[in-house]
C-alpha cells in the first residue's frame, strides 16, 4: 500500500516536470496552426516551404467544416488562453470580436509592413480593427454571378456586362423552361444567409450597421433588399430547397442544371474544372460556365459584392519566446508565392494583387480580372464585436425566405438593435 502511494506521488510530481521539459527544450520553436479542412495540399506545401530553414516547425490542426463550427472550437480554446493556439486561420468576420476580447495579438510594425505591401484594400480592411492590423490576409474572394451562357442567351440577357439587376435576372430566369429556371442564392438559416442579406442592403446603398454600430435596416435600402428576397422566394426562380440552400447545395443545383444562375464564391469554378476533367459528360456543362459581377439592386448603382476570405492571426496565448517565430511564420505563409499555391491548389482567390498577374493563375482562372475588381469594390460584412448575435438576428428575421416582405426590414432592424445592444 505504501509503495503504491509513493508511486502515485512520484507520478504526480513527474507529470508537470516532463511537460515543462518538453516546452523548454532547445531546438526549433513548435507552432500549431489551426485551420479548416478545405486546403490540405496547399497547406502542406506552404508549411514545407516556410519551415525549410528549420527555425520553427508548424503542426497543422484541422478544424471542422464551416465557419460557425470553427469559431465555436477556437473561442473556447482562446478564452482559456490555450498556449498551443499559435497561428489561426480566421474568417474575415471574426476580427472585431477576437481583437476586442484580446484573443489575438496586433502585428508589430515590421510584420505589418510586409503584410500590407501589395495586398488588396478590401482584404486589409477585414483584418484591421480600430486602426490596428491584427491579421495577415491569406485569401480573399468575393461572390460572383455564375450562369450557364446558353441559358442566359435563351432568356435574352447578357450578364457579362455586369450591369444586370436582380429584377431583370429574376424576370429572365422565369422565361426559362420548368426545371431550369432556378436562381440559386443562400437560403438556409446560417451565416452565409447574413452575407446575402448584407450584400443586398449594401448594394442598395445602405448599411446593416454603421461605423458606430447603429443598425440601419429600417430604410429604403433595407426594404429594397427585402423586396429582392421576397420576390425571388415567391417567384418562378425559387428552387424547391431554397430555405435550406448553402454554398455546397447551390453548387450541386447549378452543376445539375436545376439552377441556371447562382451567386457563389470562386471555388465553384475550380470544383467544376476538376469534375469536368474526371467526367467527360460534364465537360459540356463546364464549357458553358459564365461569370459576371454580382447583380445590382438599383439600376444606377454598382453592386457591393459580398467579401469573403481568411486572415492569419496569432493567438494571445502564444508564449513570449515563440512570438517572433510566429510573426515570421505568418509573413512567410501569406507571401505571394504561398498565396499562389492556395489559389492554384484550393481554388480560393488570393489577397495580393500581384498574384492575379501571374500567367499560370490567369490560365487557371479566366475570371481573374472580374474577381480582382469585385474584391476591390466589395463591401465587408459589419465589423462589430457581437457579429454573431447580429448574424443570428438577421437570419431569424429573414428566414424562411418565402416569408420575407418589405416590412421584414423594420422587424430585422429592431432585432439587430437588440442583438448589438443599441
Amino acid at each position: 500500500m505504501r509503495n503504491l502511494l509513493r508511486l502515485a506521488a512520484a507520478a504526480l510530481t513527474a507529470l508537470p516536470l516532463t511537460a515543462c521539459a518538453a516546452a523548454g527544450s532547445d531546438g526549433p520553436v513548435a507552432l500549431t496552426w489551426w485551420q479548416g479542412p478545405n486546403a490540405e495540399t496547399p497547406t502542406r506545401e506552404a508549411v514545407a516551404a516556410c519551415t525549410r530553414d528549420g527555425k520553427y516547425t508548424i503542426k497543422v490542426e484541422t478544424l471542422p467544416e464551416g465557419s460557425d463550427k470553427q469559431r465555436e472550437q477556437l473561442v473556447r480554446r482562446l478564452s482559456a488562453k490555450d498556449r498551443a493556439v499559435n497561428l489561426i486561420t480566421m474568417d474575415v468576420v471574426w476580427t472585431a470580436e477576437f481583437a476586442e476580447a484580446g484573443w489575438i495579438l496586433p502585428l508589430p510594425d515590421a510584420t505589418a509592413r510586409t503584410v500590407t505591401d501589395g495586398t488588396l484594400d478590401g482584404a486589409l480592411k477585414s483584418a484591421t480593427w480600430k486602426g490596428e492590423l491584427y491579421a495577415a490576409p491569406l485569401l480573399s474572394g468575393s461572390q460572383l454571378l455564375w450562369y450557364r451562357k446558353s441559358r442566359a442567351a435563351q432568356a435574352g440577357i447578357d450578364p457579362a456586362k455586369g450591369e444586370l439587376t436582380w429584377e431583370q435576372l429574376l424576370a429572365a430566369a422565369g422565361r426559362l423552361p420548368e426545371g431550369e429556371r432556378g436562381v440559386a442564392t443562400p437560403g438556409n438559416r446560417y451565416e452565409g444567409y447574413t452575407v446575402f442579406v448584407n450584400a443586398l442592403v449594401a448594394s442598395a446603398g445602405g448599411q446593416v450597421v454603421d461605423a458606430e454600430g447603429r443598425p440601419g435596416l429600417d430604410g429604403d435600402a433595407g426594404r429594397a433588399a427585402a423586396t429582392v428576397i421576397g420576390s425571388l422566394a415567391t417567384g418562378p426562380a425559387a428552387l424547391k430547397g431554397l430555405s435550406t440552400l448553402d454554398e455546397e447545395t447551390m453548387r450541386a443545383a447549378f452543376e445539375q442544371g436545376e439552377a441556371s444562375f447562382m451567386t457563389n464564391w470562386g471555388y465553384v469554378y475550380a470544383a467544376a474544372a476538376e469534375r469536368a476533367a474526371k467526367e467527360p459528360a460534364f465537360k459540356k456543362v463546364f464549357d458553358d460556365y459564365g461569370w459576371a459581377r454580382y447583380p445590382r439592386v438599383a439600376a444606377d448603382r454598382p453592386s457591393a459584392p459580398p467579401l469573403g476570405g481568411s486572415n492569419l492571426a496569432i493567438g494571445a496565448g502564444t508564449p513570449e519566446d515563440q512570438r517572433e517565430s510566429a510573426y515570421a511564420a505568418i509573413a512567410c505563409l501569406t507571401s505571394a508565392q504561398s498565396q499562389k499555391g492556395f489559389m492554384m491548389g484550393a481554388g480560393i482567390p488570393a489577397a495580393r494583387a500581384s498574384v492575379y498577374d501571374d500567367a499560370e493563375v490567369r490560365a487557371a482562372f479566366p475570371f481573374a480580372d472580374v474577381m480582382r475588381d469585385s474584391i476591390a469594390e466589395a463591401e465587408p460584412r459589419p465589423m462589430v464585436r457581437k457579429y454573431n448575435a447580429l448574424s443570428t438576428a438577421i437570419q431569424t428575421a429573414f428566414h424562411p425566405p418565402a416569408s420575407v416582405t418589405p416590412d421584414t426590414a423594420a422587424k430585422a432592424h429592431t432585432a439587430v438593435a437588440e442583438a448589438v445592444g443599441q
Binding site: 473561442v75 478564452s79 424547391k240 430547397g241 424562411p400
Partner: protein, 280 residues
C-alpha cells in the same frame, strides 16, 4: 445499538467515495452555473464582467425567444412521448405474447435504440432531403414549420420507441399469469383484461417509462441541431442555451437559461412523482 452504529458508519464509508465524486461532477457545476447566471458576463468582453442579480432572468423571461422555445419544446415532447407510448405498448405486448421467434423480435426491436442519436438524425435528414432523399418528392420537409416538426418527431419516435417498449415489457413480465387466467374464467374479454388487469398491474412501470422519456425528450438537442439548426420555429430550450453559451459566448444569459431548464425538468419530475404517489 453499537452494531447499528458501526454498520451505519461502514455504510457511509462505502458510499463516501461515490458521494464525493457525484458532488464533484454534478453539484459543483450546478452551483457554479447558478452563480454565473447572476452575472453579466460575456467571454468576448471579459473586462465588462459584473454582478447582475436577477437581470439575466428578467431579460430571458421577457423575451419572445424563451416562450417560443418553451412551446416548441412542449409540442415536441408531448407528441413524441405520446406516440412512443402507444407504439411502445403495442410492441411490448407483442414481445410478451409472441411465442415463435421471440428472441429475434426482441433483438430487431432494439436495433434503432443502439443507433446514435446524431446518426439517426442525419439519416432522417438525408431521407427527407428534396429530390435526393429516398422519401422522394420535391417538397422541402425541413423548410416548413409543421413538416420540420413531423420529421423531428418521427426521428425521435423511431429512435426511442424501443426504450419505451423495453421498460413496459419489464413491467409486463412481472404480472403473474394466474391473474389473467382468473379474469378469463370470470368472463373478461381481451379488452377488459387489458384495461382492468394489465394496465393497473404495470402502472409503476408505465410511470417510470413516461418519466424517463419525458425528461429526456424535454432536453432534446441533437436532432434539432442536425436537422434544422433551430430554424423555422423548431428551436428548443436546450438549443437556446447552446446558442447563448457556445455561439454568442454570453455565459451569464446562457447559464440563466440552463438554470431555468433545470427548474422545468425538476418540476416535471416532481409532478410525475406526485401523480405516482397519489395513485398508489
Amino acid at each position: 445499538m453499537n452494531r447499528i452504529r458501526t454498520e451505519r458508519r461502514l455504510g457511509w464509508l462505502m458510499a463516501g467515495p461515490a458521494l464525493l465524486l457525484m458532488t464533484a461532477v454534478t453539484v459543483v457545476p450546478v452551483l457554479r452555473t447558478v452563480a454565473l447566471s447572476l452575472e453579466s458576463y460575456s467571454l468576448s468582453a471579459p473586462g465588462e464582467r459584473a454582478f447582475a442579480g436577477l437581470g439575466n432572468y428578467r431579460e430571458i423571461l421577457t423575451s419572445g425567444d424563451w416562450w417560443r422555445d418553451l412551446s416548441s419544446t412542449v409540442i415536441l415532447t408531448v407528441t413524441s412521448v405520446g406516440i412512443e407510448f402507444v407504439l411502445g405498448f403495442a410492441l411490448a405486448l407483442a414481445m410478451h405474447k409472441v411465442l415463435w421467434g421471440r428472441q429475434l423480435l426482441r433483438t430487431v426491436v432494439l436495433v434503432p435504440y443502439a443507433v446514435l442519436t446524431v446518426v439517426s438524425a442525419f439519416a432522417f435528414r438525408f431521407a427527407f432531403q428534396p429530390s435526393v432523399g429516398f422519401v422522394g418528392g420535391d417538397f422541402n420537409w425541413l423548410g416548413e414549420t409543421w413538416s420540420a416538426y413531423t420529421v423531428i418527431v418521427l426521428t425521435e419516435v423511431w429512435k426511442t420507441t424501443p426504450f419505451m417498449a423495453l421498460m413496459l415489457l419489464a413491467g409486463l413480465v412481472t404480472v403473474p399469469g394466474e391473474v389473467h387466467e382468473a379474469a378469463k374464467v370470470d368472463g373478461a374479454g381481451a379488452w377488459q383484461r387489458l384495461w382492468r388487469v394489465t394496465i393497473p398491474a404495470i402502472r409503476s412501470a408505465i410511470m417510470v417509462a413516461l418519466l424517463f422519456r419525458t425528461l429526456d425528450a424535454f432536453r432534446i438537442f441533437d436532432t434539432v441541431y442536425i436537422q434544422t439548426q433551430g430554424a423555422v420555429g423548431t428551436e428548443t430550450l436546450s438549443f437556446l442555451s447552446y446558442r447563448f453559451l457556445i455561439r454568442d459566448l454570453e455565459v451569464g444569459l446562457g447559464s440563466a437559461v440552463s438554470v431555468l431548464l433545470f427548474v422545468c425538468v425538476a418540476m416535471i419530475a416532481a409532478g410525475f412523482v406526485r401523480a405516482f404517489r397519489g395513485e398508489s
